[in-house]
Amino acid sequence: MKKYWSVLKITFQEYFVYRLNFILWRFRSFVQLLVLYFLWSAVLPQGTVIFGYDQAKILTYILGTSIIRSFILASRSVDVAGEIGSGDLSNFLLRPISYLKYWFVKDIADKVLNLIFSTIEVSLIFILLRPPIIVQTNPAILFYTLIAIILGIVLYFYLSFLLSLIAFWTPENVWPPRFLAMVIIEFFAGSLFPLDILPAGIFNALRLLPFTYLLFFPLNIYLGKLTVGEIFPGLLISLFWIIVFYQLAKTLFKLGLRNYAAWGR
């Protein structure tokens, strides 16, 4: 456990080595939030309702997805592909450390930082612009939202890790498959708009896929749009996909190691 604690501390320190880079990274997150806020405020002026969403609901959804996106859809495991491609993976294979756990701990550091700074940034937007945001006060709903977010984090970690494992077979061409996967994941996770504005048939099909449980599902719980009877099946589907991706990650990592030639070493 101690070694993973050290990984966590080192990851934190890494972020602050290039301070300007860090500041600009956070400034960029703030700009992204503002861009979305202004876009949706303009698309849906006060008093209008589209697809069952008024301005308060849509702004809560959009700002909410932006915040949870910054720590659910942000994963350091992107770098796994680089380590496989450069042969740096060999360093880890020789150490008494679980490679999956190592990256999961690095992810936690990343998410903690994102959470802290996202909270500050959203607070700033709240103070400066006073958007009509829905503040959920029901403790049970908040609890279910938290569970859904945690499941979303784990789900995305394995998904992202899996994408990086492509490097075992095609080390020089990792970016394009990841780029395509991210476009699809982000869209079907509901980062652009709430998925329930899609035709019912498409929306129902999407609910069986894992992507919906990354952003749309937690936010829908937060907005109080789901009953307990709808939340539990959602959490179970989420868990099912986590198990599937975990098994896939383990199996593909083992298969990949057989193919691994430690290039560059």
């Binding site: 290039y18 600009l24 992204q32 202004f38 876009l39 394009p176």
Partner: protein
């Protein structure tokens, strides 16, 4: 000092050589090419679908009908891809600065700004650009938007003006890169802001609209060409577009020259 014909030919030859090399690299792996192009196409189609869904329901967006909103989005893509295609070298610039490899660019008998901006030319952008232009021609030929020959000429001139503003931003980002070794986040901030131009800037409220027209001229970059083609842009704004692109280019070149004097050749 203005360039001679011989110099122009030399630079064109260098650019084509760099483009050929980049194309050979990009097309050496069809697996990569298929994924990259599909990714770009899917991203485009998703947002287009979203616009159809949204404006199909609201009927108008800030007074613009669905066809007009779609044309604003197509123009945004045209400008964005053009800029990406010609100026993608900026994404590789940080590596040159932190490794000290920029020294090797400086000692070559070619303009270092031109060489750095042309460092990487993306064949996938060229492919998506061709498909987009074909789609735009088909879209305009359906008559959903009334256009005139004068409007088309003005549209093309304003696209050039947009490209100059985009070029100025990229030069500015590279100058910041020399001064601070930070490029990636700065260029992505530009891209995030320019994404506001996926819809007509008119939908935003004041003072944001003025900010996006004068301070960070995303409106000039993305919205004005489309408005000109539709005959919705007044002449003072046309003149303003050309003036501001000149001012931005001049300012960015001065900034670049200053940044070069501060280059410390780190790591080499």
């Amino acid at each position: 000092m203005p360039m001679t014909n011989r110099q122009i030919v030399k630079y064109l030859r260098v650019w084509f050589k760099l483009a050929t090399l980049a194309f050979k690299i990009d097309l050496s792996n069809r697996f990569t090419a298929v994924f990259a192009i599909t990714g770009k196409a899917v991203r485009f189609l998703f947002f287009l679908g979203f616009l159809f869904l949204l404006v199909g329901r609201t009927k108008t967006l800030a007074g613009f009908n669905l066809s007009q909103v779609v044309f604003f989005f197509l123009t945004f893509n045209l400008v964005d891809i053009l800029i990406q295609f010609f100026l993608r070298g900026v994404y590789h610039f940080r590596g040159q600065i932190v490794s000290g490899d920029f020294d090797l660019v400086l000692v070559k008998p070619i303009n270092p700004l031109f060489r750095s901006l042309s460092e990487r030319i993306d064949v996938y952008d060229l492919m998506t650009l061709i498909v987009l232009i074909i789609y735009m021609i088909i879209f305009l030929s359906t008559g959903q938007i009334t256009i005139t020959l004068g409007g088309v000429v003005l549209y093309l001139l304003l696209i050039i003006s947009s490209f100059i503003i985009g070029l100025a931003f990229h030069i500015g980002v590279m100058a910041v890169g020399i001064l601070t070794t930070e490029v990636d986040n700065v260029i992505m901030i530009y891209r995030d802001l320019s994404a506001m131009g996926r819809v007509p800037i008119d939908i935003y409220q004041e003072p944001l609209r003025t900010f996006l027209t004068i301070i960070v001229p995303i409106a000039v970059l993305m919205t004005f060409p489309a408005k000109a083609l539709m005959g919705l842009l007044s002449w003072p704004w046309v003149v303003f577009s050309f003036v501001i692109s000149g001012v931005f280019l001049f300012g960015s070149l001065r900034f670049w020259k200053y940044a070069l004097t501060q280059y410390s050749s780190a790591s080499s």
